[in-house]
């Protein structure tokens, strides 16, 4: 009986859907378009409200140095969420990788080797997460909550809670390589973030691994039935998140030539907000790299925008919360065919036909 209902529901949905298809799907199919518009709108508002700041290129150069670390985290988290999992442990990797790198640099003057070992630390954390989730069968939210505490705690223990000043790093090539200012103004780390976004877009949308991530997040039983090695995909996606988090932590540490034990705190919520603002669904089975890209810039520009427009900085979180609510409501409307029909009705799309 239930299936009968769904049959007829599917039939009845198709009718209005086809009408709207020409209007909304054509635009909706351009990945991330709504969120790009929101981003442009937000910058537009800031330009009007604070022309001095937002009509000058300096603010954008500043974004290009501050947004890359949370952006890279968001890109990795997009794949995690698309696979139907969640990772709460990435802030601990930011601290851990920064600590490993600065410890090795300070004590042994290692640069590239320290960098590689710090990335390996990220691989290890991701691998442990993946193994706990697949082999013990612990839900990822609990597994990564636990390992997040563990690695954050161990980083504080190892570093004695101190911060390390690694200013001599500025004379090293690795500094130039990752956080150089091209022409004295353009932060090179933004190019690294862009490159990672491009690669991950191709992996998620055009690669068998990305497809397996989507099937895993969509329906685990189906994924298994069609021959996806589900355990392997979960482990791989957490290892990838581990490496990306370690890299984000290294960019942060190298940019500031400082490690501090709590450098990962504060990232968890803003990175999640950026991913969800971008349009990735919490339920898994879909994810948008372009959405996360612009979502990260939206979240990253809100604070600067609010301060520049003369509103008290305390309002930052209020605005992030509002943007999150509005964006998610919008995405829900775009996703559900019946709600999309309602939206089209509201906007009088039918009259155009």
């Amino acid at each position: 009986m239930q299936t009968n209902l769904t049959d007829t529901a599917a039939e009845s949905i198709r009718q209005p859907e086809e009408e709207i298809k020409t209007h909304i799907t054509k635009w909706g199919r351009l990945e991330g378009l709504p969120i790009i518009l929101v981003f442009c709108g937000l910058i537009g508002v800031f330009m009007i409200a604070a022309p001095k700041t937002f009509l000058n290129y300096h603010i954008y150069m500043s974004f290009l140095s501050t947004v890359p670390p949370p952006l890279i985290l968001g890109l990795g988290l997009t794949l995690i969420i698309a696979s139907g999992e969640i990772d709460l442990s990435f802030p601990s990797i930011i601290a851990l990788s920064g600590f490993v790198f600065s410890f090795l640099f300070k004590n042994y003057q290692w640069t590239w080797a320290a960098f590689a070992i710090a990335l390996l630390a990220g691989v290890m954390v991701g691998l442990v997460n993946g193994l706990i989730i697949t082999k013990i069968g612990m839900p990822s939210i609990i597994a990564t909550l636990s390992t997040g505490f563990l690695w954050t705690g161990l980083t504080v223990v190892f570093s004695g809670g101190l911060s390390y000043n690694i200013a001599p790093l500025e004379n090293e090539f690795i500094y130039e390589f990752f956080v150089h200012r091209l022409g004295g103004i353009f932060p090179v780390q933004s190019l690294w973030a862009l490159a990672i976004a491009v690669v991950l877009w191709f992996i998620l949308n055009k690669h068998a691994f990305g497809e397996h991530i989507l099937f895993l997040g969509d329906n685990r039983q189906v994924a298994r039935m069609v021959g996806v090695n589900t355990d392997w995909v979960v482990i791989a996606v957490f290892v990838l998140m581990g490496v990306l988090s370690a890299f984000a932590g290294l960019l942060l540490t190298i940019e500031h030539t400082t490690f501090w034990a709590t450098q990962g705190s504060g990232f968890l919520l803003i990175v999640m907000a950026a991913v969800f603002i971008g349009g990735t669904s919490i339920f898994g089975g879909q994810g948008t790299i372009i959405g996360t890209f612009f979502g990260s810039f939206i979240v990253g520009s809100i604070e600067a925008g609010i301060v520049a427009t003369g509103v008290q900085g305390f309002y930052t979180r209020v605005v992030v919360g509002l943007v999150l609510l509005i964006a998610i409501s919008f995405h829900i409307f775009m996703e559900k065919p019946n709600k999309r029909a309602l939206l089209a009705d509201l906007l009088k799309f039918k009259k155009i036909q």
């Binding site: 299936t3 769904t6 599917a10 969509d218 329906n219 189906v222 069609v226 021959g227």
Partner: protein, 257 residues
Amino acid sequence: MADHSPSVPLLSMQNIHKSFGEVDVLQAIDFNVTDNEIIALVGDNGAGKSTLIKIITGVHPPTSGDIFFKGQKITKHSVSRSRSLGIETVYQERALADQQTLWRNVFAGRELTRKFGFLKVKEQRAETQNLIRKHMGFTSKAINTESMVLSLSGGEKQGVAIGRALYFEADLIILDEPTMGLSLSETKKVLDFVQNIKDQGKSAIFISHNIYYVYPVADRFVILDRGRIAGEFCKKDISQDELVEKMVRLARTGSLN
């Protein structure tokens, strides 16, 4: 298509027994499927239909007895082994991922890839288009390669799953209650898809407890009752009404005649 001698059945199960602990679920089952034959496997709940199917698809090994596929004895029982031999199962709820497009669903797990595992998206789209228009006969414009599975009706989903099995050259397609819970018009669609299997020269085992649905498309009826084969009839030897009559008598008296 048939890469084995035509005199050998496609699938042959000989003297199959299966017990779970003390319970004998299947006893002395002899069961054959020949090339290009649609078999209706009918019987009440608990008759052993799904256990028999699970043995064919490799989910369970038989307790004793031999299974031959295309004349070759199957010694290793696993789902992936059965699939690679050419036995595909179409399950109602476990075949397709809802939020993914048709072109992804058709090739999931068996992607066409180029170097380094990147998908040949263009080829997958083109093949899917071919599959849904020509082989599956979908004419509605609403169904295309970009359609998400959740926009399909129950019967259409079965169609895609059957079409996919045919595309990957399955020789034996097992349909486990494919019309369960579907409306009449959707059931009709599924029966057309089953007819399609026959038209393409492949074989199928169609499990159902509704004679009225399987009668038009099946060539032979195998009636399972309490773990034994109670009877086998070719369609030419028995009318639909006679078959129903026998099933009713079997349920009431435990004997077909």
